[in-house]
């Protein structure tokens, strides 16, 4: 029973990783950039959710929508200011810029509001224990899973059924050919950043309501782990990010359940190094031959 309980926790945590990983994987798929600042968008989203719940006195869903919209704008701003001028620069230059943006957001937030943590009010979501087939599962974790799955379905719909989704897939396949076909590549890239950042913002609000405590440096570790999740599923592949996130959450929960909870953070990185060595294109990726 203990194990199943841990599995449920793992899936809740994994769905948060999956939401962040989606942004990583979409951005990587389209501009081949590891957006280090993505974990910090998650952090900013968490704080926006907190302020819209406490100061604006909103309930969970309006706060979620507001945060997602604000994070989308934030993500586009980051892309336009920092990454767009580097579109044709080397990958390393872009990566270093991303690290710089990440540090700037973290310490900018600390500079303006201080480093002290903040606690989400406990009554954002009803807290009940539901017994399901003899298991007691908190209603919150089911709710979180529900919201995450709903967002992922929405994302699948956007990517596969709408015009902008079609444009995104075209640009990630071949940006130059897409431009020749009359697709506005810059706007498509911005839209990708907007969608990814909105998902990270949503993950931030969900994280806050579930784990209560938020702080300005909280985005680093979940951000890195979400990247691991994206690599695990095969970077650039949207279903891969979802599966990778859930799998990583479950692996961490199992490591905790086995009594090595202090090693939990290490598990993700061991998974990363193993996957990079043995299966570099990820679970869902195809091996692409490098052309010279």
């Amino acid at each position: 029973m203990e194990l199943v309980q841990q599995l449920v926790n793992g899936i809740s945590l994994g769905s948060i990783y999956a939401l962040i990983a989606l942004g990583y994987t979409m951005v990587y798929g389209i501009v081949k950039l590891i957006n280090f600042a993505h974990g910090d968008v998650f952090m900013v989203g968490s704080f926006m959710g907190f302020y819209s719940i406490t100061i604006l006195d909103l309930s969970f869903f309006p706060a979620l929508v507001l945060t997602m919209a604000a994070c989308a704008l934030f993500g586009v701003a980051i892309e336009r200011i920092a990454y767009k001028p580097l579109r044709n620069a080397t990958r390393i230059a872009a990566l270093i810029t991303a690290i710089g943006v990440s540090l700037l957001i973290e310490y900018g937030v600390i500079y303006f509001r201080g480093a002290q943590p903040e606690a989400y009010p406990g009554d954002v979501l009803p807290k009940e224990t539901i017994s399901l087939f003899g298991l007691s599962v908190s209603s919150q974790s089911i709710f979180i899973l529900g919201v995450s799955v709903a967002l992922m379905i929405l994302l699948q719909f956007i990517v596969h059924k709408t015009k902008i989704g079609k444009a995104m897939r075209a640009v990630s396949h071949d940006a130059d050919a897409a431009r020749l076909m009359g697709i506005n590549v810059n706007n498509t890239i911005s839209a990708t950043f907007a969608i990814g950042s909105a998902l990270a913002g949503a993950a931030g609000v969900i994280f806050g309501t579930y784990y209560i405590k938020i702080e300005p440096l909280m985005g680093i570790i979940p951000g890195l782990k979400a990247f691991v999740a994206a690599v695990l599923g095969g970077i650039g592949i949207i279903p891969g990010a979802m599966v990778g996130g859930l799998l990583l959450g479950v692996i961490e929960a199992l490591v905790s359940a086995l009594g090595y909870s202090l090693w939990r953070d290490g598990a993700a990185f061991v998974v990363l190094i193993l996957i990079l060595i043995f299966l570099p294109s990820g679970l869902f990726g195809k091996n692409v031959r490098e052309k010279v």
Partner: protein, 322 residues
């Protein structure tokens, strides 16, 4: 003629080193430096070693590693175990710190054979985090509360290590092996096609870079009285990275200058850590946006004093001419 010229640079460097060393030693002996200046001095020296060792990995071999704090941690803890647990002299600790880190460098260098660019960066970042988590969970070295280390770092030792690092890495860069590493940076596939054992050189670069980072770790541990796993997070790796990036990827003197400048700046901003990090991050972003080659590009300080077109320049000067 060429040999004479290289000899001249070498003797100039030695002379400059002797003057710097003598002045500082005289000032320490005369009690002219208070604790604050001494600490800054030691920090500058340690960060210089770190910057130069990372310069070999990123700047010369082109392997983007952001886990350098992991090597620093391995060196620091290995040396601290030598002096504090086993009671061995400081020299042994220095060498042991370097060797332990070099072994760690081999360990991370071997996966790097299969990884490139971004993936390698993330893998090295993961490696640094794994080192930190292992140290956090090891009761033998005190876990999260850290390890007490007695103050053994002295100015002559520190200075000797700085000089040793610079001389070894500068000579390595100008040797056949260094040229091979540069060719990997420029184009790995072409280097492979030219018959260069890219695997061997990548691992060698990692091991040498890690060795000196380990020595820096030994100096670091014996300078600050206590070492804790939290000293070696990835923010430390980024601190080292920024020296190399700002100095210019591929310029040894650039890395040294950036390390000295930024350490002085950050010492004065110690009371305002947020401001310091904001400045660091802005420096990273603005450098990449407006001067992606860094302060020095791939040039060395010596080339600033040479007339254009004069022979005997560094390999990079020749590359630019091509």
């Amino acid at each position: 003629m060429k040999i004479l010229k290289q000899g001249k640079t070498f003797w100039l460097f030695i002379l400059l080193g002797a003057v710097v060393f003598g002045t500082v030693q005289f000032m320490i002996a005369g009690g002219m430096l208070n604790q604050f200046y001494l600490n800054t001095l030691f920090s500058i020296a340690i960060y210089t070693i770190l910057a130069v060792s990372l310069h070999l990995i990123i700047g010369i071999t082109g392997q983007f590693s952001i886990g350098h704090a992991g090597f620093l941690a391995v060196g620091a803890y290995a040396s601290a175990i030598m002096t504090m647990k086993l009671g061995l002299p400081f020299v042994v600790a220095l060498v042991a710190g370097g060797l332990a880190a070099a072994v760690a460098g081999l360990l991370i260098g071997i996966p790097s054979l299969r990884l490139k660019g971004d993936y390698l960066a993330i893998a090295t970042l993961g490696f640094g985090e794994i080192v930190r988590i292992i140290l956090l969970n090891m009761d033998y070295v005190g876990g999260a509360s850290g390890l007490q280390v007695s103050h053994l770092t002295t100015w002559p030792w520190t200075f000797a290590c700085v000089i040793l690092t610079i001389v070894v890495i500068a000579n390595f860069t100008n040797s056949t092996h260094g040229r091979a590493c540069i060719s990997i940076r420029e184009d790995e596939t072409a280097a492979d096609a030219m018959g260069i054992n890219t695997t061997f050189y990548k691992v060698t670069a990692f091991a040498i870079g890690a060795f000196f980072a380990g020595i820096a770790g030994a100096l670091f541990a014996h300078n600050f009285y206590i070492i804790q796993p939290s000293n070696f997070g990835f923010l430390k790796s980024f601190d080292i990275l920024i020296f190399v990036v700002l100095g210019g990827l591929g310029s040894l003197s650039g890395a040294v200058i950036a390390a000295i400048l930024l350490t002085i700046v950050s010492t004065f901003l110690q009371e305002y850590p947020e401001t310091r990090m904001i400045i660091y991050s802005l420096v990273l972003i603005l450098t990449m946006l407006y001067r992606p080659q860094g302060l020095m590009g791939t040039r060395e300080i010596g080339s600033l004093f040479k007339r254009k077109g004069s022979g005997g320049g560094s390999v990079d000067a020749k590359q630019r001419a091509l």
